[in-house]
């Protein structure tokens, strides 16, 4: 069951790497939030009720509903074009994603003797997700896609930290603080367009400050 969820999580990354519409990214992110909710539900009984409720709220409420809604609204109101504008073609994007998965599984295989109580699949996909998020940030042009890339990194970290949910729930709770950055970045994009300080939120335009 758990493995099925984790495989679906991995598939969502492949989906993101192959599509070219921002809405698709948002749907995939919401889907990831939903999968994380199921994983948190699975740890019911190991956590104290407050902590459990907090994590459900974080994954279902925040990651799966609020943030995707807000992203949709930002795209609509800021009139951001729906193209993700990658620097590389879909073919290479998929190829690199496959390589990232290979890297993740290789690491998991390498660490197999040292991993206690953590599935190889879980570890491999978590690491792949983190690296994949960085890959999205590096290869996509728009600031809003960068923010989504950061959210993928964050989901990967959440997935990884779930492996410690029984022994150290504190770690999972601390990781949630990364969401503050996400909110700040998103609000930055949202407000910035209204005040039109940067004319077009593309990284290509972030070249005013250089040497």
């Amino acid at each position: 069951m758990i493995n099925l969820i984790i495989i679906l999580f991995g598939l969502s990354l492949l989906y993101i790497s192959a599509i070219s519409r921002l809405e698709g990214y948002i749907k995939a992110l919401a889907f990831q939030g939903f999968l994380l909710t199921i994983l948190v539900l699975n740890s019911f009984g190991h956590l104290n009720p407050w902590n459990f409720a907090f994590l459900i709220l974080e994954t279902l409420g925040f990651k799966a509903i609020i943030i995707p809604q807000f992203l949709m609204r930002t795209i609509r109101e800021n009139e951001i074009s729906r193209e993700t504008e990658p620097y590389i073609s879909h073919f290479y994007s998929l190829l690199f994603t496959s390589l990232i998965f290979a890297l993740g599984f290789f690491l998991a295989y390498w660490a197999r003797e040292h991993v206690a109580g953590l599935g190889h699949l879980h570890f491999g996909i978590s690491i792949s997700t983190i690296v994949f998020g960085l890959f999205i940030i590096l290869t996509r042009k728009k600031l809003i896609t960068h923010t989504m890339g950061f959210m993928i990194v964050e989901n990967g970290i959440f997935l990884l930290s779930l492996s410690k949910v029984h022994e150290m729930p504190m770690i999972v709770n601390t990781g949630v603080l990364l969401d503050i950055f996400l909110v700040v970045l998103l609000l930055g994009i949202f407000i910035n367009k209204i005040e039109s300080t940067i004319e077009n939120p593309d990284v290509d335009r972030l070249t005013y400050l250089k040497d």
Binding site: F150, V153, I157, L185, G188, I198, L206, L209, D211
Partner: protein, 468 residues
């Protein structure tokens, strides 16, 4: 003592947001600065712990002192900065509150005795300083702030991955992230996970510290922020991130994996020194020049730690001296900006003629930063060089000398052009108040005294170096 350090800024901030007064803003900064300084002095002889999560020990007391001294100087400088009549009251209050919260998060991070808590405060430093970097609200500050938040949030995420990996290595009957627990039970953490976690923590906190190759945010944020903020960023924030790296490195060294840390430190250290040298050769903006010099000096700290032995002691001395010299330069850059209304070196010539006091402070702080005797950076660089030599890294020692000379040339040229060149543009003729010179003069006097290695300083540095 620690409780008051942590609670005072929060209470003051809340009060200021309610009161909205020009005078109270300035007064609050001074009050907290005095409190900070006196608490640091009291804590030096009497280590204390608060709620088990905060404590002073031999390692962090030096860092706390540096924050205290810098903040005291900056609070004095801000008495003038915040009396600028063109600034709106709202902006004035937000700036003050931002500064208080920034110092609060720096203090919290410095005093944290728990890796997770340290991480939380590191995150808080980014969040509290971002509005300060954005203070002028122009297009370029927007860009600098975006890069600052984005790059640092990626960095801090990677540091968090490091923390998770570290905790994965802990055996079943041991699950603590308190530094003292980790040090005492280092055998309970599997070396395999320590080895994997360390690069993540180094890159993560190294982003905040401004080590190459993850330094991209630093020149932009430092040059676009108001000068007192740049001084605090460069003098205190980078050190605090360094403290985190030191704490983790100590753990790795205790696990007998010192070879890895040493190698990594030397790599990132020389890379930072190289990046600093390359960009300092072709700088056109004096605030960016100072920022690149910070990257270079963080590289020197890393090299000192990588060399080990005497190098660690020298790195601590370097840290202290760099913070004061750089803060002095950044504060003076605020004066220069005020006089010339431009950050370009070409526009800001003839400083000695236009404002002799700023000019001399500019030159002397530069001498201090470059390590002209009797300033202490001479000793710290010399000892780091010796440490490299003793370890048998002759080629690295040579490379160190070459890069330091290149930097001296690059920066020296710009500083001389600015100090001695002929004034080419019409400049503001108003006289600057004495307040904008005193902090730098105090810093320089402290540095001058420190160059003779008084016993008090030696004792502090011995303590810090042996605690690492």
């Amino acid at each position: 003592m620690i409780a008051s350090l942590l609670i005072a800024p929060l209470v003051l901030s809340a009060g200021l947001l309610l009161a909205r007064s020009w005078t109270l803003n300035r007064l609050a900064l001074l009050m907290y600065a005095i409190l900070h300084l006196s608490c640091s002095f009291r804590l030096y002889g009497n280590p204390e712990s608060f709620l088990a999560y905060f404590q002073t020990d031999h390692l962090n007391i030096l860092f706390l002192f540096v924050v205290s001294i810098l903040f005291a100087g900056i609070a004095i400088y801000c008495q003038d900065f915040l009396s600028d009549e063109t600034m709106a009251l709202k902006a004035n209050t937000y700036f003050t509150v931002g500064l208080l919260l920034f110092v609060f998060s720096l203090t919290g991070a410095t005093l944290s005795s728990h890796l997770g808590l340290f991480w939380v405060f590191m995150e808080a430093t980014t969040l509290s300083s971002a509005p300060l970097v954005y203070f002028y609200g122009t297009r370029s500050t927007m860009e600098a702030t975006w890069k600052y938040i984005f790059i640092c949030s990626i960095g801090i995420s990677l540091a968090f991955v490091g923390i998770i990996l570290l905790s994965m290595g802990e055996t079943r009957n041991f699950d603590s992230l308190f530094f003292h627990d980790l040090y005492a039970h280092v055998g309970q953490v599997m070396p395999f996970w320590l080895k994997i976690a360390f690069p993540f923590l180094l890159i993560g906190f190294g982003t905040k510290m401004g080590l190459a190759p993850v330094h991209a945010w630093l020149p932009d944020a430092h040059s676009e922020a108001p000068s007192p903020v740049s001084a605090l960023l460069s003098g205190a924030l980078l050190n605090t991130a360094f403290l985190g790296i030191l704490r983790v490195t100590k753990l790795i060294n205790l696990a007998q994996l010192g070879r890895i840390t040493s190698l990594l430190f030397l790599w990132v250290g020389f890379l930072s020194l190289f990046v600093g040298a390359v960009f300092l050769l072709r700088n056109k903006n004096y605030k960016r020049m100072l920022a690149y010099s910070s990257i270079e000096n963080m590289g020197i700290l890393a090299i000192g730690i990588g060399a080990g032995g005497l190098g660690v002691w020298a790195a601590m001395l370097h840290l202290f001296a760099h913070s004061l010299s750089k803060a002095s330069l950044f504060l003076t850059s605020g004066n220069i900006l005020k006089i010339y209304q431009s950050k370009h070196i070409e526009d800001a010539k003839g400083l000695l003629e236009k404002d002799p006091r700023s000019g001399w402070i500019w030159i002397l702080s530069f001498f201090s930063l470059m390590g002209f005797p009797p300033f202490p950076i001479f000793l710290s660089k010399f000892f780091i060089l010796m440490a490299l030599w003793q370890k048998g890294y002759a080629i690295l020692a040579l490379l160190f000398i070459v890069l330091v000379i290149v930097i001296l040339y690059g920066m020296g040229r710009s500083i001389l052009v600015m100090s001695l060149g002929e004034i080419e543009r019409p400049v503001v003729t108003q006289k600057l108040p004495g307040l904008v010179y005193w902090p730098q003069i105090i810093f320089l006097l402290l540095l001058f005294g420190a160059g003779f290695l008084p016993p008090v300083l030696c004792q502090l540095l011995d303590q810090t170096a042996s605690a690492f």
